[in-house]
């Protein structure tokens, strides 16, 4: 009869992973909508195409080799097969800590949960390089990031492998619960490398060096995207507890939901107030970025803070992200959706906040981990972008950029019937 209980625990934990994974998959739609809302109408079809295609590529590459590099499991998941029930039951019975010991669940559900993470990392990139990069070059980069760069880095962190056999991040006290650094800062590092080589959009900076804002075309889409991400994040962080099936873990999952929500709320409110104070207006896009910043910040450790602490972390993130966006803009790093600030700056912030509530992490460990991730992802990405640039050029022609990449890359307008009144405003 105990075996039946193990059956149920296996089933429950598997289901929990699948549902959390489905929520994270939904984040792909969130990024697509957020980015589609923040670019100009003439570049909307292309950013949508990028988002669908990068998600598909991430899934295929991670299935092909990424998961194997990160956790084992065989090329093409060849080692993920139906569970041998008898052996698995024995495994259950033999767990340290018994029933409250580590979770045992379908490897396939683990893959499903992990694969949507890699897509998230890649989604971050598309926003930052929007409106000027060639579609196919971007997708080529997606192949490398999702197939190799991210899985390698993942193997050193969540995978527990030493970094090139040199040092182990776990040993130095690095902790990144759900991936503020491993997923978000990594994505931002790849984006930053691409953005530096790519340069800003035409018209973003005037000849005399002034910043010229380029408003996004569709605010409801951007807002929808943010809500989708907010919802999906419950799966992102909630699933990262890695077990649901006993009392303490179930409570931990619940705390993660509460804290994730609290941080997002704190971030949104903080950014709203900062925008109001600094710019005199309630800039919606900053509020959206603030909510996302709160989410990124709490991601490194959503389980140990109290709800009040989580809210405060969100507030800090919401304040910081506004200044980070403005600062990067003055540095002429053009990031149409604010991805580098939201995921990069705040991803780092998230890592550094961990030791405040989790004594297993140290500031030193967090720094070493952050540096490892950043150096690897930024460096490798820079090399790949640079090679692609040398071979094919990252950027569309000026004329294509002026007319919009929808036409040159996709041949399909996003809103063919709506007369864009500022078509000629570059």
């Amino acid at each position: 009869m105990e075996q039946q209980i193990f059956h149920l625990q296996y089933a429950l934990d598997t289901f929990y992973f699948l549902i959390c994974g489905a929520l994270v998959m939904w984040m792909a739609a969130g990024f697509a909508m957020l980015e589609a809302g923040m670019v100009r109408a003439k570049n909307t079809t292309e950013i949508l195409t990028k988002n669908v295609a990068l998600y598909a590529i991430a899934c295929v590459m991670y299935l092909m080799c990424g998961y194997h590099l990160m956790y084992g499991g065989g090329w093409f998941l060849s080692e993920i097969t139906a569970p041998d029930v008898t052996k698995t039951l024995e495994e259950f019975a033999g767990r340290e800590n018994g029933f409250e010991g580590n979770a045992i669940y379908s490897k396939a559900s683990d893959f499903f949960f992990q694969v949507v993470f890699v897509a998230t990392a890649m989604s971050i990139v598309s926003g930052a390089v929007a409106e000027r990069m060639k579609l196919w070059i971007f997708l080529a980069f997606a192949v490398v990031l999702t197939g190799v760069i991210y899985p390698m880095e993942g193997s050193w962190t969540w995978g527990g492998e030493p970094v090139f056999g040199l040092y182990s991040l776990a040993d130095v006290g690095f902790s990144d619960f759900a991936g503020s650094g491993i997923v978000h800062m990594a994505g931002a590092a790849a984006a930053l490398a691409g953005g530096l080589i790519l340069g800003p959009r035409h018209g973003k900076y005037t000849k005399d060096g002034r910043i010229q804002a380029i408003p996004g075309a569709n605010m409801p889409l951007a807002t929808l995207g943010t809500f989708v991400l907010w919802l999906g994040w419950f799966g992102f962080n909630g699933g990262s507890v890695l077990k649901l099936g006993d009392m303490s873990n179930a409570h931990a999952v619940a705390m993660v939901f509460v804290n994730t929500n609290a941080a997002a709320a704190g971030g949104a409110i903080a950014a709203l107030i900062v925008a109001r104070v600094c710019f005199k207006k309630a800039d919606l896009t900053m509020v959206l970025n603030g909510a996302l910043a709160g989410l990124v910040a709490i991601t490194a450790e959503p389980a140990t803070p109290t709800p009040l602490q989580a809210t405060c972390f969100g507030v800090i993130a919401g304040v910081l992200v506004v200044f980070s966006i403005v600062f990067l803009d003055t540095r002429k790093i053009d990031d149409p959706v604010g991805a580098i600030s939201v995921h990069g700056t705040i991803g780092l912030l998230g890592l550094m906040l961990v030791p405040l509530t989790n004594s297993n992490a140290s500031f030193f460990g967090q720094l070493v981990g952050a540096a490892t991730i950043f150096v690897w992802v930024f460096g490798m990405s820079f090399i790949v972008w640079a090679i692609l640039n040398a071979l094919f050029g990252l950027r569309v022609t000026d004329e294509q950029e002026f007319e919009g990449v929808d036409q040159s890359e996709c041949g399909v307008e996003a809103y063919p019937e709506f007369f864009p009144s500022t078509k000629y405003v570059e």
């Binding site: 010229q212 804002a213 380029i214 408003p215 800039d283 896009t285 403005v326 803009d329």
Partner: protein, 112 residues
Amino acid sequence: MKLISAIIKPFKLEDVRESLAEAGIDGMTVTEVKGFGRQRGHTELYRGAEYQVDFLPKVKLEIAAQAEQVDRILDVLMSVAHTGRVGDGKVFVMDLEQVVRIRTGETDMEAI
């Protein structure tokens, strides 16, 4: 016959149209345009960076009318479209050589 082309503030359109109708002028063609003039656009902030909205939305009324009606139309425009603030707009009057009503083939006076 004259063609009167008036650039006015959008929110005055409804009033102008009603007043013209009262003055016996029923036909007109309206175009949404953007105006540049003494009235300046405004600067907006988006994500902390400025951008200049140069153009101002205006509405252009084109009215074909008999020469005698021009003054009446100008009167209506001057009184109803007037706010006294910069950007109220301009009226241009041009000569119209020929008018044809497509439905009936009527021309000139009858066509208006």
